[in-house]
């Protein structure tokens, strides 16, 4: 779950990380009003969801309330990264002595959090970044977290000394605490600014919370659902499956992520998948019926392809849900299913009786060939 910058800053504030003074505005009048109240030059930042490590949103600086009004008006009618901008963050433009970019992410190779800091915008800790000597980085012990002496070493590595090094290290450690407290996959400052008085503020902020940890934060449940922008993907989430919208016309339903990716890859060689969908383990008749109806919601579908493995999943139960929808909703487009594993014979029988073309051999590419033959008819 990715947070808007304004939300990330609220989470940061709870850990004692200050941001430049400011407010969120939904209209240009509100933006101008915030600028008038503050009486200072302001940065106007459109609020869109940006992938950690992805390109940060553009912003404009406004010297007067009139300029703030204009900048906000401009952003609020824009679509950025495919998202309609509905809010802008209006924040004081602080005098900047120095900027530090900090990012924390999960390093799969090390199995530990990786903390990176640089005076330049960070992309990632690739070999080039390591060789440049411009990035201070270290892993945190998953049990102890980031110790203050470790954060101070990073600050010194960036050329900070004395009081400034201690203050910067304190902010990096607070960022780590936020990352840890919220079970984040990524957290960062883009950037943290040091004012001429030597104080630090998170001018840019990002935070992504691990969806698998959301059970620990019931207060974020509603918010996390609203963050899934595609309504079909959101519905998938409520059913308990992963749906990723693609731009084609062949609906795809798979009982696992790996076979799901293979299936959309293979369909893409000859046609265009409408979606990626994987159920994970523990399907039921009802869930598969919900899944069928979800996939069929996409307009203009030419067919539906199911790829099911009976390992942990009772595919014969799932098959009942599939044929129930075909019958009740009078599905007229071809439905082709490959079903292999535990309870396969029972599954084949249910599907065939329900009007589904059943593929009983293993290679997904050959099953996809059958789908296209069926579509041609």
């Amino acid at each position: 779950m990715i947070l808007y910058e304004s939300e990330a800053k609220r989470f940061f504030k709870e850990q004692g990380i200050p941001s430049p003074p400011g407010e969120v505005a939904k209209t240009s009048q509100e933006a101008a009003e915030v600028a008038r109240k503050m009486g200072k030059p302001m940065n106007i930042k459109p609020q869109i969801l940006v992938l950690p490590g992805g390109r940060a949103g553009d912003f404009q600086t406004a010297a007067t309330p009139e300029e703030a009004d204009r900048a906000a008006k401009n952003f609020l009618k824009k679509t950025l990264n495919g998202q309609q901008v509905t809010e802008v963050l209006v924040e004081e433009k602080l005098p900047v002595q120095k900027e530090v970019h900090v990012a924390i992410r999960v390093d799969g190779a090390a199995g530990a959090p990786l903390i990176m800091a640089s005076l330049d915008p960070l992309s990632d800790l690739d070999e080039e970044a390591k060789a440049s000597g411009k990035v201070a980085w270290r892993h945190a012990d998953p049990f102890r977290g980031l110790q203050s002496y470790e954060a101070r070493k990073m600050a010194k590595g960036l050329g900070f000394t004395g009081d400034a090094a201690v203050k910067l290290a304190d902010q990096i450690q607070r960022l780590y605490k936020t990352y840890s407290q919220w079970n984040a996959l990524a957290a960062g400052f883009n950037p943290l600014v040091m004012t001429p008085e030597g104080n630090f503020f998170a001018a840019g902020a990002f935070l992504e919370i691990d969806d698998s940890a959301l059970f620990r934060f019931p207060q974020l449940r509603e918010l996390s659902l609203s963050r899934i922008l595609d309504p079909l993907a959101r519905e998938g989430k409520t059913i308990g499956v992963t749906y990723v919208g693609l731009d084609g016309d062949i609906g795809v339903i798979c009982t696992g992520a790996g076979i799901g990716m293979a299936t959309v890859d293979l369909i893409s060689k000859r046609g265009r998948p409408a979606n990626f969908l994987e159920t994970g383990g523990g399907i039921t008749e009802k869930q598969m019926a919900d899944v069928m109806r979800l996939v069929l919601k996409k307009p203009g579908l030419k067919g539906v392809f199911l790829n099911m493995y009976g390992g942990i999943n009772p595919i014969h139960e799932g098959a009942k849900g599939v044929v129930k929808v075909i019958r009740e909703d009078r599905v007229s487009i071809p439905v082709v299913a490959k079903a292999i594993g535990n309870f396969q014979e029972e599954t084949w029988k249910i599907l065939e009786e329900g009007g589904v073309t059943v593929i009983k051999t293993i290679p997904t590419d050959q099953a996809v060939d059958e789908l296209f033959k069926r579509l041609k008819k």
């Binding site: 698998s212 696992g256 997904t364």
Partner: protein, 290 residues
């Protein structure tokens, strides 16, 4: 021979009385797996499929011969259950559960490793040495003994690959589900190294996918250390930037985790990449001919 598990493996099932634990215990026993104990707090003294259930791993260890634990416990208690197994002296832990918070997995992995033990998973179908031992959730009928090692990041892809090879008369030494999460207990390199040392494994099939850098790093290992051929099949070519394709670890942002890096790395290491699942058996056959 095989890797990780064989006929000498004695298994404890943590979460044996749960729906999934009980059903899979039945499937494991049917496949010949020697399950000596189950653990569910509060259910000590009962039996599941004839297997004695204990309240704790420690009590199970005191009474039964056990060298491996498989976990079917819910995500929120996995960290504690893994620690319990380690503290009871287990050296191989197979963590089937999916949707474990990544921060928990990082601690589980660190704890297991600091005790000199091995963790497979999480989000894994498990490990199977066909004909000898099946630990996990895979359909047993798709596997058969033979000379091919399989390492995958996905349960369903492991079934597809093993099933295809079995149909073509190409059996497997061991199939290991590495797991689909951003952090896994045992890396692709470590598993390749185990197969490299196993005299019966003649060729290894790797299923890789978008996300992380396991494949890129493994390619270097293959080039420098691997003495037997490796074949790859890759999934996630059609993924969108930033979209998690079902697995928590199957996501790329800009270059990090992107498919092209993985394909390039494998090509440079001389690893043949099957374009479709149907091609895998042919590539394995040519590799076996050497």
């Amino acid at each position: 021979m095989s890797i990780l598990i064989d006929e000498k493996t004695r298994v404890m099932v943590q979460g044996i009385t749960g729906r999934m634990g009980a059903v899979q215990t039945m499937h494991m026993l049917k496949a010949g797996t020697k399950i000596t104990a189950g653990v569910t707090p509060g259910r000590g003294g009962s039996r599941v499929e004839g297997v004695p259930v204990y309240d704790s791993a420690e009590e199970a260890m005191a009474e039964q011969e056990i060298n491996t634990s498989v976990l079917f416990v819910p995500g929120p208690v996995c960290e504690e259950s893994c620690a319990e197994a380690i503290d009871a002296g287990l050296k191989l832990i197979i963590l089937i559960t999916e949707h474990i918070p990544t921060h928990d997995t990082m601690r589980i992995r660190a704890y297991v490793r600091s005790h000199g033990a091995t963790l497979i998973g999480p989000t894994t179908p498990g490990v199977i040495t066909p004909g000898k031992c099946r630990i996990g959730i895979m359909p047993t009928s798709l596997f058969t003994p033979g000379p091919v090692g399989i390492i995958t990041r996905s349960g369903t892809m492991s079934y597809e690959i093993a099933g295809l090879l079995t149909t073509e008369g190409l059996g497997q030494t061991t199939m290991v589900g590495m797991g689909g999460d951003p952090v896994v207990g045992t890396s692709l390199i470590e598993l390749l190294d185990l197969f490299n040392q196993d005299p019966e494994t003649k060729v290894v099939v790797v299923h890789g996918e978008i996300g992380g850098t396991q494949e890129e790093r493994a390619a270097v290992f293959i080039r420098q250390k691997m003495t037997k051929p490796v074949i790859a099949y890759m999934t996630g070519k059609v993924a969108l930037e930033g979209s998690r394709m079902g697995h928590a670890g199957a996501v790329f942002v800009r270059q990090r985790g992107a498919m092209e890096n993985k394909i390039k790395a494998f090509r440079e290491a001389g690893v043949p990449i099957a374009d479709t699942p149907s091609e895998i058996a042919g590539l394995v056959r040519s590799a076996l001919k050497g």
